[in-house]
Amino acid sequence: MNPVYRRRRTINRIIMAASLLASAFGVIWLFLILVTLVSKGVPALSLDVFTERTRMSGGGLGNAILGSLIMTALATIGGTMIGILAGTWLAEYGGRSKLANTIRFINDVLLSAPSIIIGLYIYAVVVLPMGHFSGWAGVAALMVIIIPVVIRSTEDMLLLVPNSLREAAAALGAHRWLIVLKVCYSGAKAGITTGVLLGCARISGETAPLLFTALNTNQWNFFNMGSEMPNLPMVLYQNMTINSFIPAQVSLAWAGALILTAAVLILNILARVSSARSQK
C-alpha cells in the first residue's frame, strides 16, 4: 500500500480510538458516582430516614425533605408564571427590537450566573432588611435561578409555532391575547413543560443559594415560611463538613445524596420523555 495512504489511515485510527476513549472517560464518571451513591446510600436508607427529623445524633431527614419540597414547589410555581410571561413577550411582542435583544442577552448570562452570587444577592435584598434567615428568602433565591431557564425554553418553544397558525386565528377575528393563549400555548405546551421540569431539577439540587437565605434547622417546619427552613442540600453540606466526625451523620448524608440524586435524575428523565413526545 502507498505509504501516504497508510499514514493517513493510521492517523485516522489513532484519533478515532482516542475519541472512543474520551467518550468512555466522559461516561465512566456517571457510573462511578452512581455506584458510590448506591453502595454508600442504600445501606443507610430506612423508613426512619423519611419520618424522623434531623438531630445531632441519630434521626432522619424527614424535615429536610419536606422543606426542600415546599421551597422547590413554591419557587417552581412562581418562577414558571413569571418566566412564561416574560418568554411570551420576547417571542410574541419583542421580536428583533433592541430592548428584546438586550433582555435576551442578559437572560442568557443570568442563565449560567454562579448560584452563590444569587445567594449573596438575596441575602442583601431580602435577609438583611428582614433581619433573619427565612424560607421566603430561600424561595426567592431559587426563583431567581429558575426564571431564566423558563424564559429561555418558553421563547424557544413559542418560536417553533408556525406563524401561519397565528395568522389563521387572526383572520378569524381573534384578538392577540386569545391567539397567544389558545393557539401558541397549546402548540408549545410540551416544550414549556420540559423547560419547567429541567429548571425544577436544577433548583432542587442547588445548595449555594440556600447557604445564606433559608439556612437550615433541625426542627420540622410546616409552611412557616418566615423562619429558617430545613432543606436536604444544606443537611448534606453540614453533615459532610462540620458534622463529618460523626460516622452516622456521614452515612445519613449519603442516604440523602441518593434520594436527592434520584429525584433530580427522575425529573431530568421526565423532561426528556416530555420533549420526545412533543417532537413526535
Binding site: 492517523i11 472517560f25 466522559g26 410574541e92 419583542g94 433582555i103 435524575l265
Partner: protein
Amino acid sequence: MTTGSSVTSKTSEGDRMQKLSASAQERSALKRNGLVDRLFELATRSSALLVLLLLGTITGSLVLAGWPALQELGLSFFTGDRWAANVENFGALPAIYGTLVTSLIAIAIAIPVSLGIAIFLTELCPPKLRRTIGTMVELLAGVPSIIYGMWGVEVLAPFLQSHFPSVFPAGTGLTTAGLILAIMIIPFITAVTRDVMHTVPPIMRESAYGLGCTTWEVIRHVIFPSVKGGMLGGVILGLGRALGETMAVTFVIGNNLFLSATLTGQGTSIAALIANQFSEADGLQRSALLLLGLVLFLITFAVLALARFMLKRMEQRAA
C-alpha cells in the same frame, strides 16, 4: 363589524350604514378585548423587564454592600496574599488565584475530552447508541454539584492521596478541584460542540468524503474550520460555569487561606471562601466577602457575555 357582507344593492343607504357599523354589544366586546390585549402585553412586558431589573439590582446590591470594604481596604484587597479574618487582613489574591487556576485546569482537561466525545457522537457512533450516550452525558450535567463535592472528598481525594502521594500529599487541592470541575463541565462543552458540529451542512461533509478524505481529515479540514467560533463559545461557557462553581470546589480545594503559588497544593477559590465564611461574618468581613462576590460576578459576566456573543454569531449562520 362582520354584518356588512350580506348587504344587497336593494337596501337603502341608511339601512346599509346601520348594518355595517357595530352594534353596541359588539362595540363593548371590541373595547373589552382591546383592553385585555393591552393588559396582557403590559403583564408580559413587565415580566420581561424584570430580567433587566434583576441584573441591575444584583450589581447594585453587591456594589452597595461591598463599598465599605473597598473604601477601607482599597487596593490592598486585590494585592494582599492572605485572608485572615481574625486580624482583619483581607487579601483576595489567594481566592482569585485559586478560582483562575482550578478553572484553567478544568478547561485543559475538558477540552480534549469533550471534543473526543463530540467527534464520537457525530461521526463514529452507531445511530442506535447515539441517543443513549448523549443522554448519559447530559444526565451527568444534571447531577447536583454537592454530590460531586461529596464524591470528590470521599472517593476521589482518598484515591489520589493513596495512589499519587507525591503529587497529592493531602488528596485535596487545586488540581483535585480542577479535576472535579472538569467532570462537571464536560457535558456542557460536549453539548455545545455537538450542536455546532451538526450545523455543518451534510453536503460539505459528503463532498469531502467523496474526495477520499478520512474521517479525521473531514473533521480537521472541513468541520473544525467552520465551527471554530461556536466551539470556542462552548468552551468559554464551560469556563464561566467552572469559575462560579461553589459546592463541588468547597469540599476538595483544601480551604487554605494563604497564597501558595502551586498547582497541586491546597488553596481556596472565591466561591469556596464565601461559602465557608459568609454565614458567620459581619462588619468589615461581610462587606469584604460581598465585594469578593462582586468581583466573581464581574469576571463571570464578562466571560459569559463573550461566550454568548460567539455562540450568537454561530446561530446566525445556522439560521
